[in-house]
């Protein structure tokens, strides 16, 4: 397999005009994506996902490092990359006053498709995006999910070999989200497309071959979702205490507890041995007069793994003091 995306030491710094403060939006990323692979870049808002995608598409120039897409240098061969890659920005970037069909035609024409190619591909893409009946509706009047599907279709019109999607399911209802991912899976299966997707949704990471965790501009882990989930320490216990924060502080000091995370009114406690520690935890809380409900051992998800890796990174203390919020 050959490399579709190759990133070495990629960095991008933004300097605030007012304070002169330097923000390391992307800070020395190394990354490889194989041809035909679906790669997910995970991170909280502000972690540097969008900046990374813009760097990969030659929309921003890196301050340090190199990035190659399809073997082409993003710094010098952006135009060649644009012919072989598709890019779907986070924000709706089509023409709202043009219809779905007109948008597709426009992008087909500027990519130099012949009338024959257009006649063949455009109906197929409309059908693929399940927009055939809505082709003459102005794009601005499409629902959030439809807009995303139209953007996907427009991005595919020149048949790219790799596509970059920036939070493609942001602001989309769960049904449309699922549908969108089905479309992506079809593309991967039918055409062997390389997909590079940014998302803040941990469940979407499970659909990727490999994921990278981006935290404050740095890639803190890159692996398969299964391997990443295995990095969480020990076993995971969930419970719903009566007093969340007191319970968190209390258990954080308890024997055999490796890490405590809060999820709404739930506590997720990483312990060395669940079978041994569960009765101890219950006893410790009840000793303080705290009722405990829903105590059970659970399988760690992407989300726990991500938060755990992030906390570890923060503890190691290279990160700036402005701590990121854990995704909820």
């Amino acid at each position: 397999m050959s490399l579709q995306v190759e990133v070495r030491g990629l960095s991008k710094y933004f300097t605030s005009h007012r304070s002169g403060e330097v923000n390391r939006a992307v800070d020395g990323i190394d990354l490889d994506v194989q041809r035909g692979e679906t790669f997910g870049l995970l991170g909280a808002d502000g972690a540097g996902k969008t900046t990374t995608l813009r760097l990969l598409n030659g929309l921003l120039l890196p301050d340090r490092g190199v990035a190659r897409v399809a073997g082409l240098d993003t710094r010098k061969q952006a135009r060649e990359i644009h012919q072989r890659a598709g890019y779907m920005p986070q924000q709706f970037s089509l023409y709202g006053d043009l219809s779905a069909l007109e948008n597709l035609r426009f992008f087909a024409e500027v990519h130099g498709l012949t009338p024959g190619q257009m006649a063949q591909r455009i109906p197929r893409l409309l059908e693929f995006a399940r927009l055939s009946g809505l082709q003459s509706r102005p794009a601005a009047q499409l629902s959030g999910g439809m807009k995303k599907k139209l953007a996907l279709a427009c991005m595919l019109v020149h048949e790219p070999e790799v596509v970059f999607l920036d939070e493609p399911t942001l602001g989309v209802d769960p049904v449309s989200r699922r549908e969108f991912w089905t479309l992506l899976s079809d593309l991967r299966a039918d055409q062997g497309l390389t997909i590079f997707v940014c998302t803040p949704y941990m469940d979407e990471a499970e659909r990727c071959h490999r994921v990278g965790l981006l935290y404050e501009g740095r890639l803190i882990a890159t692996d398969t979702p299964q391997a990443i989930k295995r990095t969480v320490p020990g076993e995971l216990v969930e419970l719903r205490p009566a007093a969340l924060y007191e319970a968190r502080d209390l258990l954080g000091r308890a024997d055999g507890v490796l890490e405590v995370q809060t999820y709404g009114d739930l506590l997720h406690i990483f312990v060395d041995n669940a079978g041994r520690r569960m009765p101890e935890i219950e006893a410790a809380l009840q000793a303080q007069g705290m009722a405990v409900t829903g105590l059970r051992c659970i399988e760690p998800r992407m989300e726990e793994a991500f938060v755990s890796l992030m906390l570890r990174e923060r503890r190691q203390g290279r990160g700036p003091s402005a701590a990121q919020q854990a995704p909820t």
């Binding site: 089509l94 023409y95 130099g112």
Partner: protein, 377 residues
């Protein structure tokens, strides 16, 4: 390349035609402005409401007042008893001018030391100028008239010869009736064309940036100059269409003569539009949103109105101000427009302006192509 350009042009046209409200404003604006100029703007003020204090009430005072009235500058509307009352009329805004004739006007005229007072409302510049000039001209003519008759009675009149030693005949070229519109229309055409060319182009480009569509455009094979040209060409059509509307209304409705060659005018207009569009592109490159672009276009339009020679003659301006005016394309086109429309002259009379516009267009296009960002930063 042509396919991309054609796709952009088609998209721009569809977007322009689909935004009906904006299109309507763009097309109606010049017509509205033209009718405002045609009917409301009159540089020369006449038929000023006038209050009269005639303390003599003799034949001579009556003759003088009649001379004033027949000049058509003064409408003698009110008669009052004193100068104070006359000024009160002006204070109340019922009259703009007062004519005060002291007692014994006829006798004083015979002696040759008669006096009359003309009081003018100084709160309006055009009124002052017109009334002042009219009062002097009319009274001097009346004076000469009286003198002539006096000399004739004394038997000094030469038969057939004029008694005044110098008689100046005036002839106004191109615009014998001195109609404001004849001055205005060629300038108005130029001014409206520049305003629309600059603002439409700037807005069209900034809109892509503001809506974020530029991010999608930048990852297509579209080159910056293709995007600019594609956005400009539909505006050329709109601007030319508006130019035709103004010209047609000016010539057929307001009967402003078009002396020169229409084909030459179109050619020159096209050159002018391109340099104005270039200015629009330049405006777009320094604006981050549509509001800024709109404000900046308006900012260019104001000095264009003042410094181009459209209203105020450039000959009287200090050199520095004239240089500032030279930076605006309409200043150069105004002279071409007036040359062709009003004077009916050919290209050889304004060749230097043509070169200036060509140079101007080339420079602004070069500058805007240089500053157009192929990336997002």
């Amino acid at each position: 390349m042509w396919q991309r350009l054609r796709a952009i042009i088609r998209k721009e046209f569809v977007q322009t035609l689909r935004d009906r409200r904006t299109l309507l404003i763009v097309l109606i604006y010049p017509i509205l402005l033209l009718f405002l100029m045609g009917y409301a703007v009159e540089m020369q003020v006449d038929h000023l409401p006038t209050v009269v204090v005639d303390s003599s009430r003799d034949q001579r005072s009556w003759q003088f007042l009649e001379a004033m009235e027949s000049s058509s500058f003064f409408d003698l509307k009110y008669y009052v008893q004193s100068e104070a009352e006359a000024v009160a009329e002006i204070d109340h805004g019922r009259a703009r001018v007062a004519i005060v004739i002291p007692p014994g006007f006829a006798a004083a005229l015979e002696r040759g030391d008669a006096q009359a007072l003309v009081v003018v409302d100084g709160s309006d510049a055009l009124t002052v100028q017109s009334a002042f000039n009219a009062a002097i001209t009319v009274s001097q003519a009346h004076s000469v008239d009286l003198l002539t008759r006096k000399l004739e009675r004394a038997g000094l009149g030469g038969k057939g010869a004029s008694l005044t030693p110098l008689d100046v005949q005036t002839r106004v070229l191109y615009n014998p009736d001195i109609r404001s519109l004849v001055f205005m229309i060629p300038g108005l055409v130029a001014l409206i064309m520049q305003q629309q060319a600059v603002s439409l182009t700037a807005l069209a480009i900034v809109r892509e940036r503001e809506l974020g569509t530029i991010e999608q455009i930048l990852v297509t094979p579209i080159r910056p100059w293709e995007l600019m040209l594609g956005k400009i060409l539909p505006n050329v059509v709109v601007t030319l269409f508006n130019m035709c509307t103004i010209l047609a209304l000016g010539v057929f409705w307001f009967k402003v003569p078009f002396q020169g060659n229409l084909g030459l005018f179109f050619g020159m207009a096209l050159l002018f539009i391109f340099s104005s569009l270039g200015l629009g592109v330049l405006v777009s490159t320094v604006s981050t949103n549509q509001r800024q672009a709109q404000q900046l276009s308006a900012l260019i339009q104001l000095p264009a109105m003042m410094l181009s020679g459209y209203i105020f003659p450039r000959a009287k301006m200090p050199q520095v101000i004239r240089w500032a005016g030279d930076l605006i394309p309409v200043t150069h086109f105004l002279q071409i427009s007036r040359g062709i429309m009003t004077k009916g002259v050919g290209i050889s009379y304004f060749q230097d302006k043509v070169w200036v516009l060509l140079f101007y267009g080339a420079v602004v296009f070069f500058l805007s192509a240089k500053s157009f960002k192929e990336r997002l930063e």
